[in-house]
Structures are given as C-alpha cells and as structure tokens.
C-alpha cells in the first residue's frame, strides 16, 4: 500500500483509507500540539499564575466566594465571578461608592486600617521607598503560629500576583502562600521580622483587588465563622471573648487542617 511495498499501486481504497486515518491522526496530534503550545504561551505571557489561581478559585465552594462588597455590608449578597480580581471587575466603582456597615468589633482578629489585605491572608504595606512589604495576616498567624520551616524566594526573584510567594511547613502540612502583588523581591524577612517579603513592583501597581477597611472586618469575621464551621467537630472554642486563640495548629492538632488551610490560603 505504501510506495516501499513491492508491487505497490494506488487504488481508491488506499486514498479513502489513508485520508480518513490521516485526517483523524492529524486532528489528534494537532489538538495535542495546540494544548502544549498554549501552555507554553501562558508561561511566556506570565499568565500561568493567574490561570492556576482561577482554577483554584473555580473549585472554591460558593460560601467562600463572597464579594468584598457583601462582606463590607454594601450589598446583601453577591458572589465574585472575577477570581477576586477587582481590577477586572466592571462594577467595582458602582458598589464601592455605597456606604459600608460593619461593626468593627465583629472582627475576631485585630487588623490595621493602613494595610491592604489579600484573600490569601497576606497584607501589603506600601513603604516610603516605593517598595511594598508583604506579611502574613493575623488570622493566618493565629492558625500557623510559628512555622517549623519557611522557604522564601531569593532576592531578585520575580513573584507574580496570586503566584506562590513563599511556602511554610507546619506540623507536616505544606502551606503555599500567594503573592498579593507582582514584582521583584528586593529583600526577605520572615516570621521573626515584621514582614516576609519586600517587593518592588514594575511601575505603579494597581492594588484595587486588595481589601481594606470595613471589607477586612467583614471578611475576617466571615473567615472566623468559616473556621468555626470547619473545626466544629473539634469542640474547643476558637474565639475567646471575640479574639482568636493563638497557635491553633498546635492546640488543635486533631482538626482537619487540610481543609482549613485549603480554604485559608485558597490552594487545593
């Protein structure tokens, strides 16, 4: 059937047969190549982190996808469908204009008004020198306490927004903390310093996706409730007089920390 076979000659059967399978095979291969190519591109255009983030976001239960404006009490109920990236949200201003009403006390955890908070439980502080300090927010600190090990990126490494900024090990659990903003790491701190990373963004960063003020209160409150729910099997009371107890991972080793950490750091 192929020219290299003795006594070969084309017949209609050959043409039909070969073209059918040629078509099928090329479609299959084309599909595979196309997929690989797009993947390659995603990395080239620094979309990989975003894609992964969206994937994870897509798998969050609805209860954990509440819009910041709902948390701030600006709207009764709203689900986020932009992967918590308000920079791309067309209705942001419309809702942001509405008055917030959250009793500051509702927050089970203390938070600072001049910090910006990321849904992955990191805070961002803009410093005088144009860099941004990134740290673990109190909620996360209450959970993790002092991590057994921390793996920070090297200075001059690039971090991407919602990409993995640093990882921590605690009681055998691997915790991957997401970067709240993109940029170059110019210095690294740690649990014993007041920051984990100092990041120098490229140009003026848009930090609209970070929570601030009342949103944070509502958000943290919701997070604490969520924590309550997830640890309700562990009968221990998490909040004592409205404040979260420290070092929960040590005090409550029996709890399903897998689930807690998954929802806390939005990383399956």
């Amino acid at each position: 059937m192929f020219p290299w076979t003795d006594g070969f000659h084309w017949t209609p059967t050959h043409i039909v047969f070969l073209s059918l399978f040629g078509a099928a095979l090329s479609v299959i291969l084309a599909t595979a190549v196309w997929g690989l190519w797009n993947t390659l591109n995603a990395f080239r255009q620094h979309l990989a982190a975003a894609t992964c983030w969206r994937q994870n976001f897509g798998e969050l239960p609805a209860t954990e996808r509440r819009c910041r404006h709902e948390l701030a009490g600006r709207v009764p109920s709203r689900l986020c469908d932009h992967a918590f990236d308000c920079r791309t949200c067309p209705n942001y201003e419309k809702f942001a204009a509405l008055p917030a009403n959250v009793p500051a006390s509702r927050a089970g955890v203390s938070y600072s008004d001049n910090l910006l908070y990321h849904r992955g439980h990191t805070w961002v502080r803009s410093d005088w020198d144009g860099t941004f300090a990134v740290g673990l927010d109190p909620f996360a600190q209450h959970l993790v306490g002092s991590p057994d090990a921390v793996q920070l990126p090297d200075v001059c490494d690039e971090v991407e927004s919602e990409g993995i900024a640093w990882t921590m090990i605690k009681n055998g659990h691997k915790i991957r903390v997401r970067a709240p903003l993109a940029g170059t790491v110019i210095s690294t701190g740690g649990p014993d310093r007041d920051f984990y990373l100092k990041i120098l963004p490229h140009g003026q960063p848009n930090l609209r996706h970070l929570l601030k003020g009342p949103e944070v209160a509502g958000w943290l409150a919701a997070e604490v409730d969520r924590l309550q729910m997830q640890m309700s099997n562990g009968k221990a009371t998490l909040a004592d007089g409205g404040t979260l107890m420290p070092d929960l991972m040590d005090t409550e080793p029996g709890a399903d920390w897998d689930a807690v950490l998954e929802s806390t750091f939005i990383d399956r």
């Binding site: 993947t39 798998e59 399956r268």
Partner: protein
C-alpha cells in the same frame, strides 16, 4: 497517622473521603498477585511461543480474541459518554465522564496488550502500519484502536494532573486548563474512530465467507455484523459504566453520582438494546434463510450441536437482550436501583455471550463435510493472562479513584448550583 499514611494522604485530594492506606493496600494485594501471575503467563508465551496455549490450527483464535472483543465492547462507554456529553450536550452525564475515560483507557490498553501476546511474532506487529492491507478488517481495527488509544491518553492526562501533588506543578495545571478546551474535539475524533473499529471488530467475522456461521451480507464493504457490533457496543457501554460506578459506590460505601445519572444511562442502554435486538432478529432471519443457504449450509449445520446450540441464540436475544431493555425503559422497573443494575448486568452478559458465539462457536463448527465438531479448553496460561488484564483494570481504576478527583471535580459545581 503513620508516616507513610501521612505521605499517602498528601496525594489524596483535600476533603476527599478515602479508605485508610492499609485497607487500600489490603484491597490491592490480591489484584496485584493476579496481575503478576498474568505477566508471568504472558512471559511464558513470549519465551516458549504460543504452544503454551491450547489454541491450535483449527482454533486459531481462542479465549484472547474473545477477551479483546468483549472488553473493547465494554470500553465503548468511554467514547459514547464523551459523545453524549460533548457532541449531544447531555451535560448531566458529566459526573461519570472521568470514570468512563479511565474504564475506556484500561479496556483498550488491556486489549492491545493481550493482542501483543496473542500474535506469533509481536516484533512484527508494526508491519501492519508498514505494509497495511486496506482490504482487511483487521487493518482497520489496528489503525482505529491505536489512534483511539492516543485519544484516550490525551483525555486521561487532564484527569491525571488534577492529582493534588501534580496540580502543584503550574505547567500541569495550565495544561489541564488548556486541555479542557480541547476535550470536545477529542471526543468527536474518538467517536468517529470508535464507531469504526467497533464495527470493524464485527466485520472481522462477518466477512469470513469461509465460515458460513459468521458470514453476513451487508451494505457496501461492511457486513451486517459491522453495524450490529456498533449498536451492541454503544448499548452495553453505558450499562457497564453503570456497573463500574455502582461497584465503586458499593466498595467505597459512598454515593458518588445521584440516581438520575443511573436512570439516564439505563434509558440510553435500554433504547439502544431494544434497537439492537430488533436488528439482530432481522439479521438472523435473513442469514438463516438467504445468506447461509446460498453457501450450502442449513440451520442444522449449526444448531444440531450441544451445548453451543440454538439455545445460545435465544439466550443472547431474549433473556439477555429483550428483558433488560424492558427493565431499562419501563419507568416502573427503572425506578428500582436493584432492577436497573440487574438489567445492566444482563446486558453485559448478553454482549459477552454474543462475542463468545461470534469468536468461539464460529471456529468450533465444522465447515468441511467430514469434519468433527471441535472442543477447546484454554490453558492456564491463557486464563492467567485474561485474569492479569482484569487485575490491571481494577488496579488502574482503584488508583485513579483514590488519587484523582474522578467524581469530586464535578461535585463542587453541583454544590455551587445548589446554592444560587
């Protein structure tokens, strides 16, 4: 929790309920043994040659070919579900899609593996691509199956990279994201290829004019068995899928898909099965009264032998064909999970029996006027290889179930929908 258990745990999707590591290993153990035995038996066949089997010049095809035809029919669930979900947009079947892919992959790879043992010179298997004879049904089968195996692998990768550890590698996760966009295309190609080779497997015997028991007239180059095999395959595919999911639910003690999916699969099986039985009846009538007499063979040349007598024909069509079809379709019976599963089991048995008759009985029946009716009992090597493939299937599915979100992936969406 022991150290290994902890490591094992890290590979299991968060929030997924799975058996303890020790219990899982306990479950795997017998299957692994069976697999090893199968590999040993296959090794014997490779080393000493096919004289290890009880096949002979008259029974040139034996248990293995029966196995191939059977499991490829069972694997039809893979392409057919994909076809239903992506082409016919039956999205409510999505929950079983991953299972379908895994089942299909194991069935097809298993079949190909057995074929490699079955041929006398495996090192020349690729000659089929090198000097293909386009008039041979077997060429068609070989091309289709190898292409479709590629498709199944491509469909399996996205499921695979959803494993908790693998997904931490960004490129995998991104690829999965991309692959999801392509699955419909693959489903389309897969459907095309599968329709072809399911048919060609039927044609394999239908074209044998030297074997009047199997020979059928047909349409263009395809004998009627070509179409009957497609029909029976897509009829049994969903049934088998149903059984697999049910088995998984029974073993894990969890509810993985809601009953609606069962009913839908059952209904599809039922309708197709009814069609198949009707078609088969017509085909048999035509063959017994026109095709076969033309070749000088009367019904008694086939049906005067016990045990492979006409009872087989009857069993395959009525209790294992019509009955399950009715159970599937009639709402009053379809409501009962038990009956539904019974019907599914009957359907599978029916198709198995049909494949058995096509492969084994065809060869047992004499063609030459003075020839005896032959018997054939497979050797332990053949049976062991068979068992090996079975074990391989179970192991792959168990591992996939444990470490991949076969059902969880779709559960999330379900929750989501319920909340709004």
């Amino acid at each position: 929790m022991s150290e290994t258990a902890l490591i094992d745990r890290r590979w299991i999707a968060r929030g997924a309920e799975r058996a303890s590591t020790s219990r899982f290993l306990l479950w795997l153990f017998p299957w692994v043994c069976l697999l090893l035995l199968g590999i040993y038996a296959a090794g014997l066949c490779f080393y000493y040659g096919l004289n290890q089997t009880n096949m002979d010049n008259r029974f040139a095809f034996g248990m293995w070919i029966f196995l191939d035809l059977a499991i490829i029919a069972m694997g039809a669930g893979a392409f057919f579900t994909g076809f239903l979900v992506y082409i016919l947009k039956q999205t409510d079947l999505k929950p079983v899609l991953n299972t379908a892919v895994v089942v299909g992959l194991t069935c097809y790879s298993g079949a190909v593996a057995v074929l490699m043992v079955d041929v006398g010179q495996p090192l020349r298997a690729w000659f089929t691509f090198w000097y293909p004879n386009t008039h041979s049904m077997l060429t068609e089968v070989t091309f289709c199956i190898s292409c479709y195996l590629l498709v199944l692998i491509l469909e399996y990768i996205p499921v695979l990279v959803q494993n908790r550890q693998l997904r931490h590698i960004p490129s995998f996760l991104v690829f999965e994201h991309q692959a999801h966009k392509l699955v419909p295309v693959l489903a389309g190609v897969g459907a095309f290829l599968s329709f072809f080779h399911q048919g060609s497997l039927g044609g394999l015997y239908g074209v044998l004019r030297g074997r009047p028991f199997a020979y059928r007239q047909g349409f263009a180059i395809w004998p009627s068995t070509f179409f009957l095999f497609i029909l029976s395959a897509i009829a049994v595919g969903p049934s088998f899928l149903m059984l697999v999911v049910a088995a998984a639910e029974k073993i894990t003690g969890q509810t993985l898909v809601d009953f609606g999916v069962y009913r839908k699969l059952g209904f599809i099986s039922g309708v197709l099965l009814a069609l198949y039985v009707a078609a088969k009846a017509i085909d048999t009538y035509v063959w017994l009264n026109i095709t076969s007499p033309r070749l000088g063979f009367g019904p008694w040349d086939y049906y005067s032998y016990w045990p492979l007598s006409s009872t087989f024909l009857f069993t395959a069509t009525v209790p294992l064909g019509l009955l399950p079809a009715i159970l599937f379709i009639v709402p009053r019976t379809a409501r009962h999970r038990g009956l539904l599963l019974l019907a599914a089991a009957l359907t599978c048995c029916g198709v198995l029996l049909n494949r058995f008759v096509m492969t084994v009985q065809t060869l047992a029946l004499p063609t030459l006027p003075f020839d005896p009716f032959l018997k054939y009992i497979p050797s332990w090597q053949e049976v062991a290889t068979f068992g090996g493939v079975l074990a391989y299937g179970v192991i792959v599915y168990s591992l996939s179930y444990r470490y991949l979100p076969l059902f969880e992936a779709t559960k999330g969406e379900a929750k989501n929908v319920s909340l709004d």
